[in-house]
Every structure is written in C-alpha cells, then in structure tokens.
Symmetry: C3
Subunit: 364 residues, 3 copies
C-alpha cells in the first residue's frame, strides 16, 4: 500500500497551511510525511475526518495532525496532545496534500522526445513536454507545455493539446480534436473516432430489400475543455458537422461511450459503462450513474442525477433524481413477479370486472 505516499521527506503543518490554507490548532512545527486513516496513522502522518462516524477515532488517533472542519473540531472533547488543521473541506484538503506528497515521491519525467517516437516535422511540441516511447504525432499537431504523452499514444493531424495534458499509454486522439489544459486521458481511450451515422439507401421491403448503408462523413471534431478527466478505454466520438463538446471539469470514468455531437455540461460526472447516444445535451453538475443509457437527441437539465443502470429516453427538464432500474432478488421470486408483470393488463381487467360487479350489486 501507498509506497508512493512515503517519500522520506516531511513538511511542517505551518508549510501545509501556507500552501493549502487552513488554521492550525496545536503545534505548527509538527512534521508529517505521508497520509493515513485515523486509526492507523502514526506521529509522522496526517489523517483526516470527513465522515461523522469516525469522530470517536479522533480522540484516540496517534496521527501527527488531523484535518478537520471547525464544526467537527468543536465536538472533540479530549484534544490533549493533538494537532489540527481546520479547513471547511477536510476531504478535498486531504486530496490536495496527497497529490503533493506523490509529486514529491515520483521521479520527475525528463522533458524531451523519446528516440523511438515518431514526430512529424510539421508538428509543434513544447520543449518542456515529455514524449514517450513509440508515440506518434502527426502533422500540424500542437503539444502544450509540460504535456506528457505516454508510450504508444497516437495524435492525429492538427490536434491541439493544452499545457499539462497527460495522456496515458495507447490513447488515440483523431485529427482536429482539442484538449484543454490539464486534461487527463487514461490508457486506451479514443477521442474523436467517427460518429455512428449512415444514410439508408435501400429499396424494397423484407427479403426483397437491396441497397446499402452510406456512411455520413463525420467532419466535426471533439472539443474538450480544461480539467477534464477521461477513463480508460472510454470513447468520445467526433461530431458529424459541428463538434462534440465536453465542458470544463467534467469527469468521465472507464468504458463510457459518448456519441457524436453530444454536449456534456461543466462539472458533470459520468460513471463507468454509461452510454450516451448522439446529439444529447447534458447539463452542468449532473451525475450519471454507472451503466446508465441515455437516448440520442434529448436534453438533461442542470443538476440531474440518474441512478445506476437506468435508461433515459426523453428529456429531463427539471433537476432531481431519476431511476428505472430494479435491484436483483432471488431468481425464482423475480421470475414469478416478471410473469405477472408481462400480463399486468389482465390483472387490471380483473380489477375492472370486480368494480363493475360491485357496482351492479350496489344497484340491487
């Protein structure tokens, strides 16, 4: 566990507060060098309280310091010998400090282009970029400052990568796509493949049908704003005419499919295995659960939450939580209910018949 979190280097609480904010309660000169859960931390480690149920652990922890909110600090009775950094959001603070410790412990990649990489003379690669083995960069591409392209990445013609972009191994970015600053794309993801569009050119019906599907050229691209993260083997298709757009700070998990000409609003989060068909417009601050399916040409308002495995076939115009999935139950019980479900109209008809019979009786 967590070898990346012990760099051997330590930092004072005063220095943490200087870099990340927060108020120190206790010894500002206490040094910490890594992070650990409350119940496992030792005197050289920083712990955090983000969930009320761990409040009792604060009084017994041996951590060098605890990240805590002011409201929670006031609930801690026995604070003797404990040090705190008081911050409104201990979990986010923890995340930032953890990243800083990792950066300290990770060997810095040397800027430059690996000799095995294939860079078109017409591409423009910042001198501070780190281009890995067997990377391909085609003509007209522009690679920003400190961008990191891991082994096997392929960058198409005219792609623009912002500063501090990190593409993990074997990512493919098709021609003409743009990725903003600090975008992270995990291994195997594909940005800008052709959207799925074919014009039917058939005559006749049934067995007599002849003709073919004619490919609709996909001449838009994908435009990804800054601070987006995209998971492994996720696919985001290029637009047919206009671009597919991913707004700032959208977070997309693994194996997600986003169709051509979608727009995903800023700060929206999409969990793994979700699929979003073409030309759909998802608002800002939405949360799309795992394996959710969303039809094409629909619009989701800002702040919509769709729970895992649900299906959205129409626009959702109001914020709120939407669902259409059942939890698994005993197989035999399910089949019994499912059989009745398939004949709900018969059940309804029997109720109608009963109502009619009772009405008739009333008349007697």
């Amino acid at each position: 566990m967590a070898s990346g979190m012990t760099s051997g280097m330590t930092i004072t609480l005063a220095e943490l507060a200087r870099r990340f904010g927060g108020d120190i309660v206790g010894d500002a000169e206490q040094r910490v060098g890594s992070l650990a859960p409350l119940d496992k931390a030792d005197a050289g480690q920083l712990a955090f309280l983000a969930n009320q149920k761990y409040l009792p652990q604060v009084e017994t922890t041996r951590a060098g310091a605890v990240l805590i909110s002011l409201a929670d600090l006031e609930k801690v009775a026995a604070r003797d010998g404990l040090n705190f950094i008081v911050t409104p959001n201990p979990y986010a603070y923890f995340a930032r400090v953890a990243q800083a410790f990792i950066d300290l412990a990770t060997p810095a990649a040397k800027p430059g282009v690996h000799p095995s990489a294939s860079i078109d003379p017409g591409a423009k690669v910042a001198a501070s970029a780190v281009i890995g083995a067997h990377v391909t960069v085609e003509a007209g591409a522009v690679i920003g400052e400190r961008a990191k392209l891991d082994a096997g990445v392929v960058i198409g013609r005219g792609v623009k990568l912002g500063d501090d972009v990190h593409l993990y191994p074997n990512v493919t970015v098709y021609h003409g796509c743009k990725l903003g600053a600090r975008v992270i794309v995990h291994a195997g993801a594909v940005i800008g493949a052709d959207g799925f569009g074919f014009a039917p050119d058939f005559v006749g019906e049934g067995d007599a049908r002849t003709g073919s599907w004619v490919k609709i050229p996909q001449v838009g691209a994908v435009d990804i704003a800054e601070d987006v993260e995209i998971g492994a083997n996720t696919t985001i298709d290029r637009g047919a005419m206009a671009d597919t757009v991913i707004e700032e700070c959208v977070k997309i998990d693994n194996l997600v499919q986003i169709g051509h000409n979608c727009r995903i609003g800023a700060y929206t989060v999409i969990a793994g295995c979700a699929g979003i068909a073409g030309s759909t417009n998802i608002g800002r601050h939405c949360m799309i659960g795992g394996a959710v399916g969303i039809a094409g040409h629909v619009t989701l308002a800002d702040h919509v939450i769709v729970t895992a495995q649900s299906g959205v076939s129409k626009s959702l115009t109001k914020p709120g939580m939407y669902t259409s999935a059942f939890p698994a139950v005993n197989h035999a019980d399910w089949n019994k209910s499912a059989a009745i479900m398939r004949n709900l109209d018969k059940l309804r008809d029997r109720i109608k018949a009963l109502e009619a019979a009772l009405d008739e009786r009333k008349g007697e």
Copy 2:
C-alpha cells in the same frame, strides 16, 4: 466546424450528376464547393432536404443548389433562382458528395511503409498500402491494395486484409482473421481475441469445491465481409472451433462485444455498448439498439429491431420490434412502483380473494 468540407475546390452540378446521378433542375453550370444546412448555406454550397419539416426552408435558402426528391420538389411553390439535383434519396446523395469533398480536401497518404513499422519478411504488403508508424505485421499476413494501417496497429500471423481496408490507430487483429474489402475499424478495436470458454474441472460442493477452470482453446477465427464498419474499442472474439462471422455491410458502433461463433447477418446495425453472447445468430437487416444484451445460442430473425437497453434471452423468430426497458422517472415514484412490483403475486392473490368473495355472495 467542418474545415474538412471546404477544400477551396468547386464542382459543377453537371459534374456531380455525372458522378453521383440525379437530374438537374436549374443551372447545371452552378459550382459548389462544400455542404451546409438549408438555413445556413450560401451560393457556393450544396444543401439537402431529407425531412419534410424543413420544406419551408427550401423556398428561402440561399444555397447554390438543393438535393431533393421529386415528390418534395413538386411541393416547392417558389423556385425562382433555385437550382436542384433531383434524386430519390437526398440524404444518401449528400453523404456521398460530402465524402467526395473530404477526399478532395484531405492530403493523400503516401503509399509505403513508415520506417518505424515492423513488417515480418514473411508478410505480403501491397505496394499501394499505407503503413503507419510503429505498426506491426506478423508472418504470413497479406495486406491488400491501398489498405491503410494507422500508427500502432498490430496484425497477427496469417491475417488477410482486403483492398481499401482502413484500420485506425492501435487496432489489434489476432492471427488468422480475415477482413474484406473496404472494412473500416476504429481505434482500439480488437478483432479475434479468444472467446470466453472454460471447462469446469471441479470436485466437491460449496466450501469444499476444489479444482480449476480449464481453458478451451479457441481455434476458429473472425471472418468479416466487405463494407463492414467497426467502432472504437469494440471487441469481436474468434470462434472456438468454427469462425465468428460478420456479413457484408454490417455497421457496429463503439464498445460493442460480440462473442465467439456469433454470426451477424448482412446490413444489420448494432449501436454502442451492446453485448452479444457466444454462438448467437442475428439475421439480416436487424437493428440492435444501444446497450442491448443478447444471450448466447439464440437466433434473431431477419428484420428484428431491439430497442435500446433491452435484453434478449430467447430466440425471436418473427420480424418486428422488441423491448424490455423502462424509461427513468422520478426516483421516489419509481421506488414506490418497484416495491409493489416485487410483490405482484400478493396483489394478484388479493384480487383472487376478492373474486372468490364476490362469487360466494352471488351464491347467497
């Protein structure tokens, strides 16, 4: 938008009609150089009418020419100064012209093998093929005329790629698979990985179970006919004994899984995130919606449509549309219905009891 659609070159309507068919109404010498929607096109652009609701835009468009069906042309009252190409299928015509404009605007790839590619001396690569950076082609493979293998593509032993095949970056084709002429495979797709087959070799039950899964060798391959298109990160497994077969002009979207020994009938379309288990036989001209799941060893007739997120567990022997998915509704409402759903048998029993009580009364 659409930089690929403005090449600077223009073409007369007469030349379009010569290449793509259709009858010209108006000035055959009018020149167009790109495509645009009816309401945005200018005099140098070609627009099209494929949907009745845009018919009024035809009378106000400034397009250099409009692709239109004869039936629709007859509905246009004010045609002064407008030029038309009359064709039975304006949308398919549009697609073909758009592709031609793109081909004009796209720098032609130079035939030949990139110096960083690794081609086994026992492979046979057509001189007109375009082999990109870091491509690997193993022994016995045959690469057809004008085939384009983008960066990072890996072609296994004995693979046959037809003429004009285009494999986008980082596609993998396992040994022995065949791809017909003009097949397009998008980035990251995997053709011919082992099907999922293991013989249970266990003794004992429950906690006492010991043994292991024994891998069933997968010695078939994947046989893909001409004009098939396969989406990014899609996976099509090789057969166990015989081949997995994809017939001509099948179109498969991204992140689709097709199990070993499936056969997908010609002209069938499969949307993103669908999964088809092994040994299943899908007919011709079917439409499989996004995220549909189809069980193994079933058969779908020709012209079957399965709507998005539905599950098929038995053969569907008649053409038609099939469904098993619910649209998402307000979370609290759903949970209320779902709770009753899980106890539908109790609801049914109450109805039975009511029926019995009424029957009894009748007897009084």
Copy 3:
C-alpha cells in the same frame, strides 16, 4: 476451421493417457492428430462426449478414439472397433489435449527482445521472455520466465509479471501492478488506471454552485493472482489507498469494468460488459452474467450467481441465483405493461377500495 489443430504430428492414446490421465479401453497404440466433433471425426481424430444428447453419436462415430466418462461408457451398447479414453471430465480433458495440439502446431516464439522494443535499463527481463515489437518496459519492472509481451504492450514502472504471463497486443499495465504466473491478458485491456475518485469542493447550490472536483490520488495498485484470464479492452482500476485484488483463477471476459479496491474471489467468472463499482467484494466461485452491474461497497457471498443484465445494489449474503432483468417482448405489449407498471400504486388503491367495499357489504 481449426487449422491450428492439425499439426501433421500424431500421438498414441497411450501417450495421451500418460500425459493427461484416463484409462484406455481399446487399442492403446491408436494414433490421433487432432480433435473433431463425434459426427465429423475420422480415424485420425479424437472426439469427446460431454453432453448426454450426443450419446447415440458414439455408436456411429468414425473417430479414432472417444473421451468419455465411465457412467456414459456403460450406456454404449455397440463398442466394436471403438477406442475410448475413460475420464471423469471428458470436456476438460478435451480442452487440455486441444491445447497440447495447438502448442505442437504453433511455431515457438523465439526468446529475446525485438529490436524495436524500448526496455529501460533499470528493468529486469528474463532471458526466456519473448518481447515483441514496439513494446515499452519502464524502470524497475520485472518480467518473469517465458513471459510473452506482444507488440505495443506498455509496462509501467515497478510492475511485476510472473512466469508464463502472456499479454496480447496493446495491453497497458500501469506502474506498480503485479500479475501472477500464467496470467493471460487480451489485447487493449488496461490494468491499473486510476480509480474514479474526486472530492467535491463546491460552495453554493443550484446555479450559484462554484468550485471544482479535486482528484483523490490513487496510490494503491492492482494485484492479480496466478491463472487469471482477462478479456480484451477490459479495465481494472488501481486502488485508492490499498490494492484492487483479483484472486487466483478468476476468469474475466471482454469490456468488463472493475472499480478501485474491489476484491474478486478465486475461481469467480465474470462475463462480458459487466461493471463492478469500487470497493465491492465478490466471493469465491461466483458467476457474474453479461452486462451485470454491481454497486460499490457491497459484498457478494461465495457461490452467488447473478444472471445477465441484472443489477445488484445491496450485499447478497447467501449463495444462490439472483435476477432483475426482463426478457424483451413485442414492443407494443411491453409499452402497455410498462404504462401500468408506472402506476401500480393506483392499481393497488383500487384493490384496497374493492376490499373496503366488500367489507362494508359484509356488515350489512
């Protein structure tokens, strides 16, 4: 079909029994060189009986020998001229023999590193390993005996690969992950990408919401035990603090997503397109069907079976089969039932009203 199964070399039944066990009934010197189904096998081929429904074919087969269980052999009346290898599990025996024939027929890969591969001087690669074209191995990685890394594979810093591991083309293994002996990973799979974790750091509600998602560093890794097989384009995320763990002999199909900090128990099988959210614990000997979704932070007991497309949102503490999926039916019929389903509470209320009315009548 099955070119890989005919090597031109043959083997006696006596030799098969020596290598794979079983008792010979008939001529131990009979030679076979490949495998075939009972109804297609000739005198030089080995067939097997694993399914009672093919029992009649045993009496008419022309196979050189038949793999059969003792119980089934006793049901065969006419055995004249037939040879058998009697084994408790003919299907598993078949699988092992088939693999042996393939190994004989497949040209042995030459140990060594392809000249185009990029191996960090700080990595340790066994001399017997086979490193393909354009492979990248970073510092501190250790590659075991006879490990086979196909073209385009990328191995991160400090990865440990056991003996006889086989990674197919374009697989990515992130830094610090461990793969046990004989692990097979199919093309495009990604092991050890960052888990999906972000701390919300927002203030305000609705349109006034501002702030961002703060990435939670993922400092665990993925720890995969021996004899695991992982399908094409599957993704298994690294842990946040501790490791994601895949126990021995787990078999995972294509396009499966396994979230950070999951533990998958030994011998469990997971079919294609399934998604398992973070921190979930799946028992031993479970069977997870295709496209199943499992929520995060739940536990499945040993020997749980979840049928295809079902969703698991709570822990399943008892072995058994669980389901929540409907099979697709005629679209119009489905919509009728679905509409009633959405208003099940009204149906229930009508039943209540009927019960009340009848009760009242009773009192009359």
